[in-house]
């Protein structure tokens, strides 16, 4: 059994965002074969040492106050994202770096989640040279373009950071075929260096409720007799735009209840009077999030930009929810329009929602069931994990 260290400049547990889920579940899959330690950087809170079955440790290291202050200033005064600040000032996270060094003394492989941990990893390697696997959650220049805008001064720096981690990595794990092709075309990465390790879902986490229990839950929640559509996402421009579309549709469809989950609810622009049929539920713990999913009638994904893939799609499908999604929102999931989800454009959203709310529930359930079967067979983290474990086995070799 080899030792693997995963470096992440933000916490991976408890997980709330798609990226955090990717880190947690792929690391847990690797821990079936190896001792895996994920060293994560937190902004405040206590130092934590968390152990999971079968052989996964997550260390949550708070950044020292001066670094936290620097990061805050860079963001507020110069609009530099925290990840970019970390890539330049990683050596000011003394405790984190020491723990990373300690854990890497005996490791056979280092995994960089996102491109920003490269320098911290190289420093922690000391004189030892072990392979680095770059787990690319996105094509970073595309993802950052969405957040910062095409003309942001910092874009050349982000490209350089991405270029550097690619050059220093033994392999790349990417989320979608599109991302793989982009890395090959834009960064001239050899095709055999890139493996598509798609996003997935923990199907075991989905609660199993009988039809009666589900109905009772809906009654208790005041949803009885109301068609309920759900959207989940973090506070990220494509999700914010999606919620704006939902709010607009909600104003036209008062008989449908819209539930919005996740940190997207924190967006300052949503702290205004919203249509009465919209519930902004915020960030929920896993059990409550899954409960909200299984009591809903329809899931929405109206994302039209970004990179990587949307983890929410796998979760919607695993919960057996029929999905109304843009084709872009379904990229990289393997879900097929018409068969596993209802496709929609943003302009026709209200009409599509009205039609689905009035549609035969058995027909909706059929699409939901087809999506559920599909992700159980292809996208459970255990299934995805097999490819990831094979990729890592190839990198570690005889170490």
């Amino acid at each position: 059994m080899a030792s693997i260290v995963v470096a992440s400049f933000y916490p991976a547990y408890p997980f709330f965002h798609g990226g955090q889920r990717r880190i947690f579940f792929l690391s847990r899959e690797l821990s079936r074969d190896h001792a895996v330690t994920v060293v994560t950087l937190a902004r405040g809170g206590p130092l934590k040492y968390l152990e999971f079955e079968p052989n996964l440790t997550i260390i949550r290291v708070p950044a020292e106050q001066p670094y936290a202050e620097l990061e805050r200033r860079q963001l507020q005064e110069r609009k530099v994202p925290p990840d970019v600040t970390y890539s330049a000032h990683w050596n000011q996270c003394h405790l984190y770096q020491s723990i990373l060094c300690e854990r890497m003394r005996t490791s056979s492989l280092a995994i960089s989640e996102h491109p920003y941990s490269l320098h911290a990893i190289k420093d922690a390697q000391g004189g030892r040279r072990i392979p680095i696997l770059y787990n690319a959650h996105n094509v970073e220049v595309i993802q950052k373009k969405v957040v910062l805008g095409e003309s942001a001064e910092i874009m050349p720096l982000i490209r350089a950071i991405e270029q550097e981690i690619i050059a220093n990595s033994a392999a790349l794990a990417v989320c979608t075929d599109f991302d793989r092709d982009t890395f090959i075309s834009d960064y001239a990465v050899p095709a055999d260096k890139v493996a598509v390790i798609a996003n997935g879902v923990d199907c075991a986490a989905v609660p199993t409720l009988s039809a009666e229990a589900r109905q009772q839950c809906r009654r208790q929640l005041g949803l009885d007799g109301r068609f309920t559509a759900l959207f989940g996402g973090s506070e990220y421009p494509p999700n914010i735009a999606a919620v704006e579309c939902i709010l607009s549709a909600a104003a036209q469809l008062p008989d449908i209840t819209f539930a919005v989950l996740g940190t997207v609810c924190n967006f300052a622009g949503f702290q205004r009077a919203l249509p009465a049929n919209v519930l902004m539920l915020g960030q929920l713990p896993e059990a409550e999030k899954w409960l909200a999913y299984v009591v809903s009638d329809l899931a929405l994904n109206l994302v039209v930009s970004g990179s990587g893939s949307n983890v929410k799609m796998f979760e919607y499908a695993a919960a057996g929810l029929p999905i109304l999604s843009t084709d872009f929102g379904a990229r990289g999931t393997g879900l097929r329009p018409g068969e596993h989800y209802y496709p929609t454009g943003l302009e026709e959203l209200a009409a599509r929602l009205a039609a689905l709310a009035g549609a035969d529930r058995a027909a909706l359930a059929q699409v939901g069931d087809a999506g559920k079967r599909h992700v159980r067979e292809t996208s459970d983290w255990q299934v995805i994990g097999q490819r990831y474990r094979a990729l890592v086995a190839g990198l570690i070799g005889g170490r």
Binding site: Y49, L95, S98, P254, E288, A292
Partner: protein, 199 residues
């Protein structure tokens, strides 16, 4: 529960929490976590008592009443002198600098004199780098250590050797003077983290 029936999003979330708590645990299978306290990091092994030393003020320690007065910033000689060998090297580097000891540090920590010099050296470095920890007290020894460094920089070897000898004498005196307090501190550490194999 819904807004139009007088409910709010907050009430909806509260209802979700209630229902979720009422549902049987076997209806879902979320990852189970074990929170290991204190975190066994920056210490020679997972059973080392060094893990009980607070790393920063944000580190919460369970049931370690005897160590509770430590704030992770200001360290007295006796707080660290209770450790020996590799434990001492880890305790000093970790507490004053949040760093790992080198092989040379661990070697130096095998003798009283070496431990004393290592403590002064790491404190000197922590102050120079504005590190997270400080050694309080031992001011004359700290001054002597600074003189030693200056002499070594100037390559005044005979003088440096003399100061070195003075520091060694101070080391022996400090450990002897605080013998009872060090012993008491060791007993408290042993009570918190019982040594294995009857050590």
């Amino acid at each position: 529960m819904l807004p139009e029936s007088g409910g709010t999003s907050a009430q909806f979330v509260a209802a979700l929490q209630r229902i979720s708590a009422d549902l049987k645990a076997d209806q879902t299978s979320l990852p189970r976590v074990r929170d290991v306290m204190p975190p066994p990091v920056l210490c020679p092994g997972p059973d080392s008592p060094v893990r009980f030393l607070p790393l920063i003020d944000m580190t919460a320690l369970p049931g370690a009443g005897a160590l509770r007065r430590l704030d992770g910033k200001r360290w007295r000689f006796v707080d660290l002198a209770a450790f020996e060998g590799a434990d001492f090297a880890y305790a000093v580097r970790r507490s004053l600098l949040h760093r790992l000891p080198t092989e040379r540090d661990i070697e130096a920590a095998s003798s009283i004199e070496g431990r004393f010099r290592l403590l002064l050296e790491v404190d000197f470095e922590a102050r120079r780098l504005n590190g997270p920890g400080r050694l309080i007290g031992l001011s004359p020894a700290k001054r002597l250590y600074r003189v030693l460094r200056a002499l070594e920089t100037l390559r005044l070897r005979p003088l440096a050797a003399a100061v070195h000898a003075l520091l060694d004498r101070r080391a022996r005196r400090a450990f002897a003077k605080h013998r009872d307090r060090i012993a008491a501190w060791r007993r408290r550490l042993a009570a918190i983290a019982p040594p294995r194999d009857g050590r």
